[in-house]
């Protein structure tokens, strides 16, 4: 019996020692990596936790990586858990910066006093389709798209589609509509656009990260939806510009406000953003009405949107606040050069100026970090 007790006790101690030992093992690791200055550097290392939208995640993680090379003492940590999760976390102040594809609604904005919107990049959504023997560049208008996604236009050779596309032989086949099944910023931009161009869409369906789709199949994620469109003949769906370019899926040219059919590219999306600048509010105001879909401009691609970083105007920690402001300042200036590589649209200079004003508002006990 005694032996058993001893054995049991030893086992318990081993387990406890194992638990206690784990963190100790981790600590020496940085010393190896940073050699001489290690003890001091380790103490001063600042980690700034952020969370939110997955759409800008590739760009944000590139920024974190590049910024860490310039400023090794600052580690930007971003969890791409979705806009909703990001907004919840910054509301509870478990993160000090958040990403959101949609601007805060008036309700959300009123619950987050002192929140600032900083548009950090621009995304475009393209309409992808799979019609055998029809390549990229099918011409579509917003009204036609809305009718297709409302289930009112059901055949590819419908007169309304054919009218824009003389010379393209469109088949007498049912259109199979595909949409995102997961809540997503891409869906927000697309439904925002359909709401802007179709009254029926706005009143029946509306805009949101998920909506009550009148027709169609749901695919999870950009890859899931692109997979559906690629596999199902005669289908139509929508994906991010970067995704469409990478997967070489045929996509449509969309009729803009001036009546031109525009190919989605970085340039045509940037034009759309620049055209919308005069309508933008200040960083501390509510952005709930902001939308750059169907923007004016001869070459503006109409299905585009800002994606936002959210931070508080009043920072509770001086050191972290300063590090955050320096990072944000770098993002809207030097950081923009990484956008095009990853097929995100760099901010037009007007928006950069607007962001400068916003970032200057961030303060610790009334003292701005900039200037």
């Amino acid at each position: 019996m005694k032996n058993e007790i001893v054995l049991f006790a030893v086992a318990v101690m081993l387990v406890l020692a194992g638990c206690a030992g784990a963190p100790q093992k981790e600590q020496p690791a940085p010393t190896k990596a940073t050699t001489a200055a290690a003890p001091v550097a380790a103490a001063e290392k600042i980690t700034l936790n952020g969370a939110g939208a997955s759409f800008p995640y590739p760009l944000i993680s590139r920024w974190s990586f590049e910024y860490n090379k310039i400023k090794p003492s600052v580690q930007m940590n971003y969890q791409s858990i979705g806009s909703g999760g990001g907004i919840r976390q910054i509301t509870e102040k478990t993160v000090i910066w958040a990403g959101s594809d949609a601007p805060l609604s008036d309700e959300q904005y009123s619950k987050l006093p002192g929140i600032l919107h900083i548009p950090e990049t621009i995304g475009a959504v393209v309409v992808a389709y799979n019609v055998p023997n029809v390549g990229k560049g099918l011409k579509l208008s917003g009204e036609v798209l809305a009718d297709i996604f409302l289930g009112k236009i059901t055949k590819w050779n419908d007169q309304k589609i054919a009218a824009f596309n003389p010379g393209v032989s469109l088949p007498d086949k049912d259109i199979i509509v595909a949409h995102r099944s997961d809540g997503s910023g891409t869906t927000f931009v697309f439904t925002d656009y359909l709401s802007a161009v179709s009254d029926e869409w706005r009143t029946k369906v509306g805009r949101g990260t998920s909506v009550n789709w009148p027709v169609g199949l749901g695919g999870k994620g950009n890859e899931g939806l692109a997979g559906l469109v690629k596999q199902i003949p005669y289908s139509i769906g929508y994906v991010e510009l970067a995704y469409a370019t990478e997967t070489r899926i045929p996509y449509a040219f969309i009729k803009n406000r001036e009546g031109n059919f525009v190919e989605p590219t970085l340039a045509s999306t940037a034009t759309a953003a620049a055209g919308a600048v005069p309508m933008l509010p200040k960083g501390y105001e509510s952005w709930s009405k902001v939308s750059i879909v169907n923007a004016p401009g001869k070459d503006a691609y109409p299905i585009a949107s800002f994606t936002y970083l959210l931070v508080y105007r009043d920072q509770a920690d001086e050191v972290k606040g300063r590090a955050l402001v320096e990072f944000l300042w770098w993002v809207i200036h030097d950081g923009q050069k990484y956008s095009a590589d990853l097929l995100y649209v760099p901010l037009p200079s007007e928006v950069v100026k607007l962001n400068e004003e916003t970032i200057k508002l961030i303060n610790y006990q009334g003292k701005s970090f900039v200037g």
């Binding site: 007790i5 806009s83 609604s105 049912d174 949101g208």
Partner: protein, 321 residues
């Protein structure tokens, strides 16, 4: 807390009672109580608290309304409940006969060599991550379904409401088949063990009375193992009801209630996984949590029902065996 006075007042017995055995009993008992029951209660509490907003807004209507509109904040869970039940039921209908066949073959018919090769392979199937099965489902099986399985079903059985309408490859039936693959390893393994545990006397008695092998298996072996086999089916059903990734990839994610098995649908687990991260409104989030609550309740209910059936089986027919 009661055992402290017990220890203090009976020092004589103290030495005897602190045996490793008793400590172990206490330790495991505590874990069982705290761990299992405590966890279930905590989950239930969180789910109920989280869904209060939605329960207040929609009441019982949440269970029978079929609109799911995040933009206008109108939520009803019926299409998801329907989808979960139909896809799980299909999985059972397709998966259980196959699993039983595998189990009977491995336990009764296969030579020990064949058994040694096939058994680990089937058990290995259980270790495939569901996302991999989902990918196979969407890229391999769904197109196969659309081009080779759906057309004959529509042609020959199209007069039935179950096979009406166009087939996209993503459907209740596709989800059911994929789920069936996922439950086969667990159902067949547990059933095989149950069949192996049947005493040889049963088989010998049947064979001695002139039964063929088939008769011996159906008359003497399977009835003897039925309670355990039923338990295996319930394990499988539990997995099918809760499965998320693989289902959401092949079911088409369209919340609707239709008789056609070739039409796309949606399930409770899938809608939570799909929409939770971007659910920004309070009521929207609450509605999703209430879907979780219903899923929890249905899983519990199915288990309880299964238990009840097993007990009844054992009580009524167990005496004969």
């Amino acid at each position: 807390m009661n055992f402290f006075p017990f220890f203090i007042h009976r020092r004589e017995k103290l030495r005897k009672s602190i045996t490793a055995d008793n400590l172990f009993k206490l330790f495991t008992g505590g874990i069982a109580l705290l761990g299992v029951i405590g966890l279930a209660v905590l989950i239930l509490k969180e789910l109920i608290l989280g869904s209060m907003l939605s329960i207040e807004a929609f009441g019982l209507g949440f269970l029978y309304q079929s609109v799911w509109d995040p933009v206008f904040n109108d939520f009803g869970a019926l299409p998801f409940i329907y989808g979960t039940l139909i896809s799980s039921l299909l999985a059972i209908v397709i998966g259980v006969p196959l699993s039983l066949g595998i189990a009977v073959y491995l336990a009764e018919i296969a030579s020990s060599k064949v058994r040694a090769i096939i058994t680990p392979i089937i058990e290995l199937l259980a270790a495939i991550p569901s996302i991999i099965i989902g990918l196979w489902g969407i890229f391999v099986f769904a197109p196969f379904m659309r081009e080779h399985i759906a057309p004959p079903l529509q042609n020959y059985l199209g007069f039935l409401p179950f096979f009406k309408g166009p087939a996209f490859g993503l459907s209740f039936l596709t989800a059911g088949v994929v789920l069936a693959f996922m439950i086969i390893p667990i159902v067949s393994s547990v059933s095989r063990e149950a069949i192996l545990a049947v005493p040889n006397l049963q088989r010998e008695a049947a064979l001695a009375l002139g039964a063929t092998r088939w008769e011996a298996i159906t008359i003497a072996v399977l009835p003897y193992a039925r309670a355990a086999i039923f338990g295996a089916v319930i394990l499988g059903l539990g997995r099918a009801i809760g499965e998320t990734m693989a289902v959401t990839m092949v079911i088409g994610n369209t919340p609707q209630i239709v008789a056609s098995l070739l039409a796309p649908g949606h399930t409770m687990a899938a809608v939570i996984a799909n929409e939770f991260t971007e659910a920004t409104g309070d009521l929207y989030l609450s509605a999703l949590i209430e879907v979780g609550l219903i899923l929890f309740a249905i899983a519990m209910l199915v288990n309880a029902l299964a238990r009840a059936i097993v007990w009844k089986f054992l009580r009524v027919k167990g005496g004969e065996a």
